[in-house]
């Protein structure tokens, strides 16, 4: 533990810490461009120079280990002059185009030049100009602005695991590019824009639309997958302008997937902004009163057993609570939140959570992936597995085994088999799991949405127990969800009650006429043709499959438009906040259900958000604690069943098109088309 003095303040830092970290510990601010806590150290921008006693020259603090007894000065005249010199060199070739640069207002170079820039230039030669580089539909480049910090290169190699960015040429002619300027293929690619300290890489869809100081920033939670990435929603007036990641070391660190980031234009397209009622086969705009009246008229005298409710992938906990209470009060027990038909058991949280936690991946030494492609289903979690695989402290390296789809996961793995039989015969990987101190088994929705899903789940849980993945200190059994709503739905018990039907049963019942009324709470992924002649109430945000089939449409609020509770795949309760208001006469979903309950004469006992949250806490106490994971005390035993031989498939066939918001987004459509075209070219070769 070296002790050193920084600007007269004595600090003690961990062995192996850098001078820069020691300086920060002492409260000194060190300017930097290339250094980033989550990337390897490059030491090439030289902006972090500090003066160290007995050192003849200033030293780059990011690359210098803190030594015992060092006396460091970060504010001396020499340091100031050295940094001014560095800044002058950086600005030699940097264009003076801040007024038309999208980074303006949030640019490290702009900020630092306020402190270390000089007011004139001594450089009379021509500035260099660099040809634009194509990096795909998400990342816009203005490469003349690049200062060669190489953060983007290190990110793509180390965090995204898709090393496709590089620096060609050298010296003044060094240029950042992809191989032959192909589009970036990583699901995390746009994080390079956040990392870029200048305006060389900016968001193409955000280009020239807003300035950072005009935007109202709201801290919220993402719902594009079940990771629950922490996001910041930047809005101007009624419009979401962009979405950025927010720091949370336990969940997404500081990365978000491209879908999370660029889905915002989907929030403006195809929106349901007024209620609709189907009259004479055509959906007609209506008032809320008319819509509720149409529902009340249809539900009158319909027995509870002939009613069903399905909650979709983007439903918040509050709305699902209200949905369940309303339909339970109507005597309906056919309520299901698993629209994909996953055979998950809601009775014990341990059986449907990602128990190891996302941060816990960094302690695992062997991981078995069953029926999942985490790169597509939860890109952030895949990045965490890659991070673990790249850490040096696992003896012999992290061992990953895969049963299911054989895709590029960005790290090496042992391929064990395609289908459930491989769970029984793991081959040599069985020993790897047995010998591992902290093994993990991750079971994806691809393994659970099958007919034998329950048996696969039971088999995986039994395997976890038999290899010692479940001990007092370590729980290595994990279910990886793909839907942001799923865990909250299971927590609140949105599963068929006594005599109730599950999604499959509801669809069968609707086709045969046994189910007369179906309420879809944002459920768009079911086969609408199987709803038969049922009266369909669609409550949601987008004119997607559900709305097309609906008899009554109740326009709801998207995730950026309501204060809502989300539970991620780990079981972490997180609060999303409203950034903008819902469009038109759309309303928050729980409030719609509360209002409907009044019309139906079954008034729900909560009038505001606090009251419904109190009701949720009464159902499931862990809803009282946001940002923490309620510990799972006991793992269940599940009954074994017959395993089918069919191979597992991932439920996410197209990463960019997994939900109604993404399907409405033009940016996502462009990404999807680009990816498909690239795949065709690859297949042709």
């Amino acid at each position: 533990m070296p002790k050193l003095t920084v600007d007269g303040i004595e600090v003690e830092v961990e062995a192996g810490a850098t001078l820069l970290q020691a300086c920060e510990e002492a409260g000194a601010e060190i300017p930097r461009f290339c250094y980033h806590e989550r990337l390897s150290i490059a030491g090439n921008c030289r902006m972090c120079l500090v003066e160290v006693e007995k050192s003849p020259k200033p030293v780059a603090s990011c690359a210098m280990p803190a030594g015992d007894g060092m006396v460091v000065s970060t504010k001396s005249e020499q340091v100031k002059r050295a940094r001014e010199g560095v800044m002058e060199f950086l600005l030699i070739n940097h264009p003076l185009d801040c007024p038309i640069c999208d980074q303006g207002g949030e640019c490290d170079l702009q900020d630092q030049s306020m402190a270390y820039g000089v007011d004139g230039s001594r450089f009379h030669e021509n500035k260099r100009a660099v040809e634009e580089k194509y990096m795909g539909p998400l990342v816009k480049t203005v490469m003349t602005r690049c200062i060669h910090c190489t953060r983007c290169i290190r990110f793509s190699q180390e965090v995204a695991g898709v090393p496709e960015l590089g620096a060609i040429g050298r010296g003044e002619d060094m240029e950042i590019t992809t191989y032959l300027e192909h589009a970036l293929t990583s699901e995390l690619s746009a994080n390079v824009v956040d990392l870029c300290p200048v305006g060389a890489l900016t968001f193409r869809p955000f280009a020239y639309t807003a300035r950072p100081w005009e935007l109202k920033k709201t801290e919220s939670i993402d719902v594009m997958d079940a990771v629950g990435s922490n996001i910041r929603v930047d809005a101007r007036g009624p419009e979401v302008m962009r979405i950025l990641p927010r720091l949370n070391d336990d969940v997404n660190e500081e990365w978000i997937s491209d879908k999370t980031r660029f889905v915002w234009d989907g929030l403006k397209m195809q929106r349901l902004d007024t209620p609709f009622v189907r009259i004479n086969g055509r959906l007609q705009p209506a008032t809320w009163e008319e819509a509720f009246a149409a529902i009340a008229a249809r539900l009158k005298d319909v027995d509870g057993s002939r009613i069903a409710a399905i909650a979709g992938d983007l439903a918040c906990a509050e709305s699902m609570k209200a949905l369940k209470d309303l339909y339970t009060s109507l005597g309906c027990t056919s309520i299901d939140c698993r629209q994909d038909g996953a055979k998950l058991d809601a009775s014990n949280r341990g059986a449907y959570l990602f128990n190891t936690t996302i941060a816990g991946i960094e302690e695992a030494d062997a991981i078995l992936l069953v029926g999942t492609d985490p790169r597509k289903e939860a890109a952030i979690i895949n990045a965490r597995i890659l991070k673990r695989a790249r850490q040096k402290d696992v003896e012999g390296g992290l061992k990953v085994g895969v049963i299911g789809p054989r895709n590029d996961l960005t790290y090496d793995y042992d391929y064990i088999g395609a289908g459930p039989q491989s769970l029984k015969d793991l081959g040599s990987f069985g020993d790897v799991l047995k010998n591992a101190a902290r093994p993990m088994i991750v079971i994806g929705q691809g393994a659970l949405t099958r007919k034998d899903g329950a048996a696969v789940l039971a088999e995986a849980l039994a395997l976890a127990k038999s290899v010692g993945a479940i001990t007092d200190e370590w729980n290595g059994f994990n279910v990886l969800h793909t839907a942001a709503a799923r865990v909250a739905g299971l927590d609140l018990g949105l599963v068929p009650g006594e005599g109730g039907r599950d999604v499959e049963g509801i669809l069968e019942g609707a086709s045969s006429g046994e189910i007369e009324v179906v309420h879809l709470l944002g459920a768009d992924e079911i086969d609408m043709n199987r709803l038969g002649k049922a009266f369909v109430i669609y409550q949601g945000t987008h004119g997607d499959a559900g709305a097309h089939r609906a008899d009554v449409i109740l326009p709801g609020a998207a995730y950026t438009e309501k204060n809502a509770t989300w539970v991620n795949t780990e079981g972490r309760v997180q609060l999303g906040r409203r950034a903008v208001f819902p469009p038109g006469s759309a309303r928050e979903d729980w409030a719609i259900l509360r209002a409907l309950s009044g019309v139906l004469g079954k008034t729900l006992p909560y009038d505001d958000l606090d009251a419904i949250r109190a009701a949720m806490e009464a159902d499931a106490p862990h809803f009282a604690m946001s940002d923490v994971i309620a510990p799972v005390t006991e793992m269940p035993s599940l009954p074994q069943g017959e395993l089918d031989a069919a191979p597992f498939e991932t439920p996410v066939r197209d990463f960019f098109m997994t939900n109604p918001v993404a399907r409405a987004s033009a940016v996502m459509a462009e990404c999807s088309a680009g990816r498909a075209a690239a795949a065709r070219i690859q297949a042709a070769e």
Partner: protein
């Protein structure tokens, strides 16, 4: 130096000859398991030799696949080192040293000869026999000015001797690498002025 780009006209494919594959395997085997990427420069160099002195894009991919490297990493190497030619070169590739010692001794005259007899820098001459490029110091300053043609140094040049060398090469005549003046290697011009007698090995004496 200037911005280096891949040539717009590329062959469809590239593969080492059987002999070069054997050679490459030996090179790769020099490095420990997991460090095969260390062989990238020798392999690229051999690819350039095999492909008439320049490195086509398919060769970059070929070498990357051989070494388990990402394409972009090999492209970085190929564009970093100026000795990898990314565009076609002439049968006789003239690298003309323009660094201070050669420049002081008349490299500018040699450049003029190149422009006259070959054409603009970096362009292959119409007959395909020559191309030339100015390079930094090739380490033969004692015999400045000098050029390197393919693997040979031609030293102590002046405009006329350089023209003679180029003409001989064009006509397919034998040329003598090394100093084109009277002197031998880097001995003093006009004969030895010191070490004229061999000393006594016992005493180490001499003059």
């Amino acid at each position: 130096m200037s911005v280096r780009r891949l040539d717009p006209n590329q062959p469809d494919s590239f593969a080492f000859t059987a002999e070069n594959v054997e050679w490459a395997k030996k090179q790769i085997a020099k490095y420990p398991e997991g460090k095969q990427a260390s062989a990238v420069i020798p392999l690229l160099w051999r690819a350039q030799e095999q492909h008439d002195g320049w490195l086509p894009e398919p060769a970059i991919r070929y070498v990357a696949e051989m070494l388990g490297m990402d394409y972009i990493r090999v492209l970085e190497v190929a564009t970093f080192y100026t000795m990898f030619n990314l565009s076609p070169v002439g049968e006789h590739f003239v690298q003309l040293c323009g660094t201070t010692p050669c420049w002081l001794r008349g490299a500018d005259d040699l450049k003029e000869v190149c422009r006259k007899h070959i054409g603009p820098e970096g362009k292959v001459s119409a007959d395909g026999k020559f191309s030339w490029m100015e390079v930094e110091c090739l380490g033969a300053c004692v015999n400045a000015p000098m050029v390197q043609i393919n693997a040979d140094f031609f030293e102590d040049l002046d405009a006329s001797s350089f023209e003679r060398v180029l003409n001989d090469l064009r006509e397919g005549r034998e040329v003598k690498p090394g100093p084109q003046s009277e002197r031998h290697a880097s001995e003093p011009e006009g004969g030895l002025t010191s070490l004229t007698t061999v000393g006594d090995p016992q005493t180490g004496g001499g003059d």
